[in-house]
Amino acid sequence: MNTTVVAQLQRQFQDYIVSLYQQGFLDNQFSELRKLQDEGTPDFVSEVVSLFFDDCSKLIDTMSRSLERPDNVDFKQVDSGVHQLKGSSSSVGARRVKNVCISFKECCHVQNREGCLRCLQQVDYEYKMLKTKLQDLFNLEQQILQAGGTIPQVDIN
């Protein structure tokens, strides 16, 4: 094991994850999620996150269809979708996605179709952005492990 390489990668990992928190992509709930991962369940976080992104994709599709025709918007359906998205983004620690959902809910309540469409677009953007960021993070983890190192525990508080 090349300890310099491992140390460098670990440093990179640490800096990257800290920046994700600082830029508001992730919040404390993500670290709660990491606590649930252990030697017995080494892929838990990536699995859960993957499930979350799947949900995002499906829900955005459904909501998009509900919002399609201006004269026939099923706001209840949209609200239900946002509610789910808000819940899961909250559980995962996807802070930006969750925040968009809060505004999105408001638009549903006042039946503002335009507002909903904007939020939908934003939610789509945010989840895809987070997806790329987390993919980079998981890649770093894999590199560390392959180089024989361990994933650092990062305390963001």
């Binding site: 709930q29 709660e32 606590k35 649930l36 252990d38 369940t41 838990f44 699995e47 859960v48 499930l51 979350f52 949900d55 509610h83 789910q84 808000k86 819940g87 899961s88 909250s90 559980s91």
Partner: protein, 221 residues
């Protein structure tokens, strides 16, 4: 203090959302619980051995094929579910003679005080706001231990044989005649003070329907 391996607590988790089920399952596993997840209130009742249209609780309580085979120590359920809500499930459990001793915990992503008090009034032990954290689950142990005690108290035991002085207790303590002292020897109850042991046993054995409120217990886990 020696920890012998105890049989794990078994929790039934109910949530219609696949993602949330995965989360609660992992949280419970990480807290050393055995977990069964179902996606609806009616499936939960089915699993517990209560047929949804069955109105004869007496038959169930003596029937061997109810959940006795799969002993559930706690039910944790989401509040917002289509069809039967978590609140509906809570009511059904508390209305059933066979199931009412199982502690129920409600989870919700919404902080609605009226909702919370309604659930607690109906008999829920705890109300967790989502996202549920690992730290929240430490609150479950005392509730689950209650059911284990109750189950033990329902087994027939010869009282004569049970006068035992625990070596761990100091000599100056009064020898307590407790029917379940052998059970109490297990490390599950070590944290309990002997005065609370008596109180706890009385409360659990009581046939009075009023359940001991969590506040009356001084258990430490």
């Amino acid at each position: 203090m020696v920890m012998e391996t105890e049989s794990q607590f078994h929790v039934l988790a109910v949530d219609d959302n696949r993602f949330d089920r995965k989360m609660i399952e992992r949280l419970l596993q990480k807290s050393s619980c055995q977990v069964t997840t179902v996606d609806s209130g009616s499936k939960a009742l089915e699993f517990l051995g209560l047929r949804v249209d069955d109105n004869d609780p007496n038959a169930l309580s003596t029937s061997p094929q109810i959940h006795q085979e799969v002993e559930i120590n706690l039910i944790i359920t989401d509040y917002c579910m289509p069809g039967m809500t978590g609140y509906d499930l809570l009511k059904k459990v508390k209305e059933s003679a066979a199931l009412r001793s199982i502690p129920v915990v409600i989870m919700s992503s919404e902080n609605v005080p009226a909702r919370i008090s309604r659930c607690l009034e109906e008999g829920a032990e705890e109300f967790f706001l989502k996202p549920v954290k690992l730290a929240d689950l430490t609150k479950l142990k005392p509730h689950m231990m209650k059911t284990k005690l109750k189950k033990e108290s329902e087994k027939p035991v010869a009282i004569e044989e049970e006068i035992v002085v625990s070596e761990k207790e100091e000599a100056s303590l009064v020898i307590e005649i407790l029917p379940l002292h052998q059970e109490l020897e297990s490390e599950q109850l070590e944290p309990m003070l002997s005065s609370n042991k008596r109180k706890a046993m009385e409360e659990v054995i009581s046939t009075d329907r009023s359940r001991p409120k969590y506040n009356d217990f001084t258990t430490s886990v």
